[in-house]
Amino acid sequence: MMKIKIYRSFGKRLISKVVLKVLGNAVEATSKVDKNIYHELEGYKEGCVVGLKAYPAGKTMFLIKEDGVFRYKGTKGDYIADYLIVFKSLDDSVPVFLGFKSIEAAYLEHRFVLEGDLMTSLGILRALGCVEAYLFPKFMLKKLFIKVPKIYNLKIVGLVKTVNTLFKNWRVV
């Protein structure tokens, strides 16, 4: 009998781990400085939990709405997500995390499972699209969107705030 050996991609795991952290903190940071992102997430109730998993056996990154803003909670908490996005494989999440595919395109292509109320989930997807607009350069964004989401602050402000939030949350893993 042949021994089963599955190649384990540490690179893809590392990318997803890093990007989940950056993305989570970027959501927290940009929703404070961008009225569009704030507006998209305004309707979700206090305490609302959003989870994001890069692959089925991966850890879930949580965002929880506190005082009107979704805050990064890392991957250690034991929360029950109101909305949980689980990418079907690392090959589905990594292109999204690296800015080669938009979250909308991933949705259209059934690249993730979305557990939770579909009728109210679109605001989260749109907000993530706006956060991407802060994180990636314009030439990449043009390939991702029919119309690049408008950002309501300087890109540099969003990036600096994200780095700030990353430092503030450095203990949250």
């Binding site: 292509e109 979305l114 109320d117 579909l118 009728m119 679109l122 029919i146």
Partner: protein, 394 residues
Amino acid sequence: MRIPDYFEFHNSVKLLSGFKAISHIPFELKNLNSERPLILTDQTIKKLGLADKVLNAFDGSGIVPVAIFDDIPADAPLNKINEVAKFYRDNNCDSLIAVGGGSVIDSAKGVNILVSSDSDNLMDFVGLDKVSGKLRPFIAVPTTSGTGSEATLVAVITDTERHIKMEFISYNMLPDVAVLDPEMTESLPPHITAATGMDALVHAIEAYSGRQKNPISDVHASAAIKIIAENLIPVVKNGRDKKARLAMANASFMAGAAFSNSMVSLTHAIGHAVGAVSHVPHGVAMSILLPWCMKHNLKMAESSYAEVLTFLKKIEDVVALSEKERAQACINYIEDLLVELNKICKLPVKLGDAGVKKEDFDEIVARAINDGAVVPNPEFVDETIIKEILEKAF
């Protein structure tokens, strides 16, 4: 032809299409190792004698349905679904037959999720691709030609107590068998035939022109468009035309299979909201909004609309036109079709005539922009654009 970077296509439904197709239901149940089916239908279907037709199909089959729930309300309410699921379990039923329109078929999908799992809470399954595993045997017998529910992976169920709609999307919810029998649709009145037929046309056009179009869906959508172009007006004029009825049932099924995989877009996003806020029947909202949404999408969907025209008209009528002219002619064709349907059966052509009030616009816009159907739309959409479309269609 553009092949998407990635797409999925699933249609595992066995199709029985034709005259006396319902007589094969008992055979199909045996094929599915089932002998204790539970039938779901509604009062209108019962009054029209269509439920009896399905029951009579069991004559001589050796199978007797356990029971028939003939009071499934519109909008597939959760409390009814829980009641039916409890009955199914208590009486050891082993399969479901839905006889009706979209609400009855959606209700059966909801019941099937529950009876195929250990849970008695449908909320556990709300979402995209959340329903997993093989569900119980399920046969759908549509009594309208439009929703395509017999071929789709979607169910919308209403929680009347909490006033919310729950959406389920999963390939596992597809029926095992769809039965298209012209006898089941021939008593539909002309205006409902027209509205539901237009709904099927919108499914096909939106699937063919959306961002998630793919070659397999395109084949289904293009065939559906051809059939609708040839049969919609004749069947609205003469509902007893069984061949046209069967053709429309096939078109509805194929359009359903197409949009089940390629999704619908802006017309549906706005149409769902118009239905929820102003209570306009789905097919009516679809027909009014279609040309306006196509006009908005014209630039991005030009080549798709140009191709759609070749399915709607004879090739000699379009061969001399450029792609741009074909796309515009496609929209003109739809507008002419709506004017003709309005003449034949008073199908409304304006939102104002369908009961929408201008005061409803803000709520319609707020709902439409959050409808999942905006995502596959070929052209950019925001609140301002939706409002403009509503103004134009008013």
